[in-house]
């Protein structure tokens, strides 16, 4: 494609894709943003992770405790 053909394609493309029109939103999007923020998954509290980690360490150090835990589950 030479320079002339490239210019011709650019002109054609500009003609084919008209201006986007109104570039302002019709409404305030903050309410939609709030809905999106409210829909975020609840974060797991840090102490849940600490408890899980502690149990995992306990199970590694005292493997005999695993059946006892399972019995009480």
């Amino acid at each position: 494609m030479n320079a002339h053909e490239e210019d011709r394609m650019k002109q054609l493309l500009k003609q084919a894709l008209p201006p986007p029109g109104d570039t302002e939103p019709e409404r305030d999007l903050w309410p939609a943003m709030l809905r999106r923020l409210d829909a975020r998954p609840a974060p797991v509290p840090w102490f849940d992770w600490a408890l899980a980690g502690g149990l995992a360490v306990f199970a590694v150090v005292f493997p005999a405790s695993i059946p006892v835990f399972l019995y009480y589950l």
């Binding site: 490239e6 493309l13 084919a16 201006p19 986007p20 029109g21 302002e24 939103p25 999007l29 923020l37």
Partner: protein, 185 residues
Amino acid sequence: MRDGESNVLNNVLDQFRRGDPATFDDAFETLFHLHQRTVFGWLMRIVRNPAAAEDLTVETFWRIYRAHARFDPSREFEAWARTIATHAALDWLRTQRSETELLLDVAAPLASDPAISAEIRRKTAAAFSRLPPKLRIAAVLAVVEELPHKEVAAALGISVTAVKVRVFRALRLLRKDLQRQGITP
């Protein structure tokens, strides 16, 4: 911008970046209200569909919300938001089927060249919608919107040379597609 306003804005940006729970939500809301129109306008230039641009504006600010710690205060917030919006638009375009209503349901051009028939314009728009999304975005911003290559490069996170290559590839593929349909541009 006056010094007072500039200081307030810098303070808001700092609160946003730090993510302190006491001030973060207010800072984010301020930034949203300050920049939602700009982000929407930018997205409209890419997707040309008001409903999609609205959804993508919310998606962009959701990504901004999550990425607050990565915001570089030495960079303009708006430029950062444009980059995130461009990537959100790219992801959206990838999920769309080709030849969707995108670009096809917009009004006729205001000053159309009489030598180019409505049918050729329609087929060109349809062929354009079949191009790979990353080529489409580069072409629509650089050719149709006539933005400087440097600005397009910043929004896409690529070099100016890469923008030129993408635009050239887009035009070449478009020309081939039209030639296959018996149209010699």
